[in-house]
Symmetry: C2
Subunit: 183 residues, 2 copies
Amino acid sequence: MPQAERFQADDPTMRFVEAWGRMGSVWGISRTMAEVHALLYITGAPLCTDDVMETLEISRGNASMSLRALVDWGIVGRVHKRGDRKEYFVAEQDVWTVFRSIVRERIKREVDPLLASLYEVRDDLAPAAERGTDPEVKARLEAMIDFLELCAALGERFAGPTGPGLQLAASLLARNHRSKHAD
Amino acid sequence: MPQAERFQADDPTMRFVEAWGRMGSVWGISRTMAEVHALLYITGAPLCTDDVMETLEISRGNASMSLRALVDWGIVGRVHKRGDRKEYFVAEQDVWTVFRSIVRERIKREVDPLLASLYEVRDDLAPAAERGTDPEVKARLEAMIDFLELCAALGERFAGPTGPGLQLAASLLARNHRSKHAD
DNA sequence: CTGGTCTTTCAGAACTTTTTGAAAGCAGAA
DNA sequence: TTCTGCTTTCAAAAAGTTCTGAAAGACCAG
């Protein structure tokens, strides 16, 4: 497999990359980052910064940033080839593992800080016997906190590093499934 | 409860609104939209466009757009008061229902289109006996498609309009839980 | 050390999204 | 009909984000 790949714009690989790129928002990352990930995933083999730059036609800086961010998210790993100074990158190949990393990261980055803020609000609410704050406000706040705690806990269980993941998902679908699709 | 509410910036209501606003990205909506939703949710009572404008200090246009979008997402409803020409808005009060609406919408808007693109790529790949496309590429594509289908199906089951939702979530947590938190 | 190869950083440019405010639209009352 | 009170729309402005490319940094080999 040659180092500098040249894909046609309508090559299946490229079409996959584009489709995946459009999804970036769902995973909470930028389009380019998603494309870089898609390219690494579908290619399977380790690619270096220049491969990524050339294939996606992006700048060196952008490639470097995106790759590092993917490594931070834990869904891309760094690899070295003997006798080659360059650094190579490989995407995790198990989709379920990818999913787990993403869920874990997003909970850490987004749900946890929100919960922290809400705890603060609640704690300031309780002791002061708050002049005139509707008690129902407190109840709604609690309801939201409970829900988010449940989400975080579920996320950990469902997608956590040790989680049952796939099997659990499958079994969920299995029990009392109604007739689905034909496709 | 007066029509034009005036909250202190550090009022618990406002603090909730701000915390929730910062979360917008997670739900795939803009900060302002999230704040409008937070305000309606925590207030509990129906508010009109002017209430929202004044409380959040945003323009009429923005308030109007955000409210309509929330109605489209199905997590805010329109209400009319007898003898009042104004339109009022109330947020769904059951957090689990809100969650379900959001999951359903996002799958519809984001996962389904992606799946559609991937099906196209796969279908173009199969018949042509594609000159030189690595068979592993096809395998990886299939793996991704399978995963996304599972997600969509799970989403429907778990968060769908008829779904078991909360109970299911609770039971998931219950079985083989390891010692969690104290807090 | 010096020179070469590769990686990272960062200020500004390009692009995207969000917000505004004024104008147009709509509906009921008189 | 016209007036009035309210809602929606939309073009332009502001704010926010992502990308580029050049320069600086790191590291190794000789």
